[in-house]
């Protein structure tokens, strides 16, 4: 019996166009054997929640380098709750100040990955936390 592949939606919410990180993550997760869907740039939280529901993903990886993370994450988590998708693992990467981390985790963001994180660390985290469910 083959193991079910972990399905990941990687997304760029908001107006930020810095996509170097998100593209590297998408490729690294794919190379690690996961099913990866990249939304492209400038997605609203509504678009991301809808895509996550439609693609039936296990994980959503958000990349935000614009400083708008508090607003955008709060809205996305609210939408996921409304859709009954609390079991989706939501990860955030980017320039995220330490002081914002507790609030973001309280919203339900499972982990925050700062610049300098190795791709292996992210792959391991996703496997560990989403592997059993998939």
């Amino acid at each position: 019996m083959t193991e079910k592949k972990i399905r990941v939606l990687v997304a760029k919410p908001g107006l930020d166009g810095h996509d170097r990180g998100v593209k590297i993550i998408a490729r690294a997760l794919r190379d690690a054997g996961m099913e990866v869907i990249y939304t492209g740039l400038r997605q609203t939280p509504e678009m991301i929640a809808a895509a996550a529901e439609q693609e039936d993903v296990d994980v959503i990886g958000l990349s935000i380098l614009s400083g708008a993370h508090n607003t955008l994450c709060a809205r996305l988590m609210e939408l996921l709750r409304e859709k009954g998708m609390q079991d989706v693992l939501v990860l955030l990467g980017g320039t995220i100040p330490d002081v914002d981390a507790p609030g973001l985790k309280q919203m339900g963001i499972a982990e925050i990955f700062l610049p300098g994180t190795s791709t292996q660390e992210i792959v391991n985290f996703v496997r560990e936390r989403a592997g059993q469910k998939a």
Binding site: L15, D19, R30, N70, T95, D98, V99, T119
Partner: protein, 576 residues
């Protein structure tokens, strides 16, 4: 870490032909051969080198030693020349920094216009010699602060500017006749520039005398930074409209800053940065010529903007090669006659992507090394990044320290005492030659694709950059490339103090826009926007229409929407 594993990564295959050719052609002198036999071999036998191969941060191979054998075909008259003379390898001025230091131009912008105005006046008081405006994402994307998509983004990564009223506050008590200002704005550049010109006019500054720089480089947006609104063709029309307007009305203004900075930040190699930027430059010149502009008249208004990354000599070689390629291009490809059209002037910013969130004080050291490379490469102006920028926009303390870094290089290091101090170095001249040759290869490839707009359409530069960026990350993950404090020499640390922008900025902006819309003449605004829409459908230069709309206090979002209605919007094919 294991010393042996370092540097084991294969050199970039793109350069392998180059190394092979060099090896074949290289004829060491009898004295050099003797040194290899008598001194080198026993030394290697006693203690091997740390790695089998040494490469730059861009994976460009570097030899153990450079000698006259590496410069056999090199002609110092032809390839080096003298400063202020073709091919400008040594710099564009005869006396370089002995005459005048580079402009210390720190990029700043956050919150609402009054917040940034305060930071600007502080920086000028600290001895900064030029201004540089960072706009927030809604402004960069042509949305007003109260647009639904602006939520959470207002004033966050730059200053929020939605109308001429905001621009008036931004430059309050700053005389535009005396201070030069650089504005990092691209897709809506024509609109923001019109606002700047309107403020200058209100202050009574003479347009013929004011100077500054508009980034206005839309091509690199499709390639790297991704802040585009319209498709390439109408975007290029807008750029050429500003060229034409500038040549006629603001002869001292730098109407474009053709930028490699963002290409490098997106993960390119040094050679890709150089090649794609100069090919973008060629594209703008071609479009300008097609509009009927004279190269000797408009090309002097084009300026460049490069990154200063951590590989010290590779960066210096890049700047030197850039001047030489541009000189040859303007002279041979476009037949430019004047010196001004052939000299590449550039701004430099240290590499944001090299800054680490871990051990942020290390960033001061990185930035100093990068800034020194820019100076030794002959930059005309420089921005040094702040230590806290992997976390947020800089605090006043961090921004001041970044400025002091430049002042220490300028006034204490003495590197400014002589022109092009590295000129004639076997290594630097060889690397300059190699970087130049590799850049020409890319330029020829893009020519063969039909130019930069065509290359963007088939995602060629985007793909090249994504590949280089991924390979670099893998090398860091494998510790083949060391980032201090990140994948080696790590330590537990305490958080640093950072700048926090709260949501009151968005509320203040929304209130200001509500007031503006209530007080201005909506008839006048409607008339001006309708005229702009009509002109956009035709082929006229849009600058005068944009200027009139701005002066009627039409907002940035309204003006960009008028053009969106005609030009449509752009969606990229995402490469992952």
């Amino acid at each position: 870490m294991d010393e042996v594993t370092r540097g084991k990564g294969k050199p970039n295959p793109a350069f392998s032909h180059l190394v092979e050719n060099e090896k074949d052609k290289r004829k060491p002198s009898p004295r050099e051969q003797q040194w290899e036999e008598k001194t080198l071999k026993p030394s290697l036998a006693r203690s091997p080198e740390r790695a089998a191969e040494f490469t730059t941060i861009s994976d460009h191979p570097i030899r153990r030693l450079y000698t006259p054998a590496d410069l056999a075909d090199w002609d110092d008259e032809r390839d080096l020349g003298f400063p202020g003379e073709p091919p400008y390898t040594r710099g564009i001025h005869a006396t370089m920094y002995r005459g005048r230091l580079w402009t210390m131009r720190q990029f700043a912008g956050f919150g609402a216009a009054e917040d940034t105005n305060r930071r600007f006046r502080y920086l000028l008081a600290q001895g900064q010699t030029g201004l540089s405006v960072a706009f927030d994402l809604p402004t960069l994307m042509g949305y007003d602060s109260d647009h639904a998509l602006s939520e959470g983004e207002v004033g966050k990564c730059g200053v929020a500017i939605s109308s001429l009223a905001d621009m008036e506050v931004l430059f309050d008590q700053i005389p535009l006749a005396d201070v030069t200002t650089s504005m990092t704005i691209n897709s809506p550049a024509a609109v923001i520039w019109a606002m700047y010109l309107a403020v200058a006019e209100k202050q009574g500054a003479d347009w013929k005398k004011i100077s500054g720089t508009l980034q206005n480089d839309i091509l690199k947006e499709y390639v790297a930074q991704k802040e585009y609104i319209y498709p390439p063709e109408p975007s290029m029309r807008l750029v050429i409209d500003t060229f034409e307007f500038c040549t006629r009305h603001t002869p001292k203004y730098n109407v474009i800053s053709i930028s490699g900075y963002h290409i490098r930040e997106a993960g390119s190699t040094a050679i890709q940065e150089l090649a794609f930027t100069l090919r973008d430059g060629i594209e703008y010149v071609e479009w300008g010529i097609r509009r009927g502009l004279d190269v000797d008249e408009f090309v002097p208004r084009l300026s460049f903007f490069f990154n200063a990354h951590s590989d010290f000599f590779e960066e210096i070689a890049k700047y030197r090669a850039a001047r030489r390629i541009w000189y040859k291009t303007m002279r041979e490809r476009f037949g430019a006659k004047t010196e001004r059209a052939c000299t590449l002037r550039f701004h430099t910013q240290t590499a944001g992507c090299s800054l680490t969130a871990q051990q942020p004080y290390n960033n001061v050291v990185r930035t100093a090394i990068q800034a020194l490379a820019a100076v030794l490469g002959g930059t005309q102006s420089l921005h040094t990044n702040s230590l806290d920028e992997a976390w947020a926009l800089p605090t006043e303390f961090a921004a001041t320290l970044a400025l002091r870094t430049q002042q220490i290089i300028a006034h204490e290091s003495s590197v400014t005492n002589t022109v092009d101090p590295l000129g004639g170095s076997y290594f630097v001249e060889t690397l300059t030659n190699e970087v130049e040759r590799a850049a020409w290869d890319y330029i020829e490839k893009i020519d063969a694709l039909g130019g930069m707009v065509a290359a963007i359409d088939c995602s060629y530069p985007q793909r090249e950059i994504a590949e280089a960026s991924y390979q670099y990350q893998m090398a860091v993950d494998r510790k083949e490339k060391i980032v201090v404090g990140v994948n080696e020499f790590t330590a537990e640390e305490k958080p640093i103090e950072i700048l926090h922008i709260d949501e009151t900025v968005a509320l203040r902006q929304a209130e200001r826009l509500r007031k503006l819309r209530a007080e201005r003449s909506s008839d006048e605004v409607e008339r001006r926007l309708a005229a702009l829409r009509k002109a956009a459908e035709g082929t006229e230069n849009l600058m005068p229409y944009i200027y009139e709309a701005v002066k009627a206090y039409a907002t940035l979002g309204e003006i960009c929407d008028a053009m969106r209605a005609v030009f449509g919007t752009y969606e990229e094919v995402a490469i992952t």
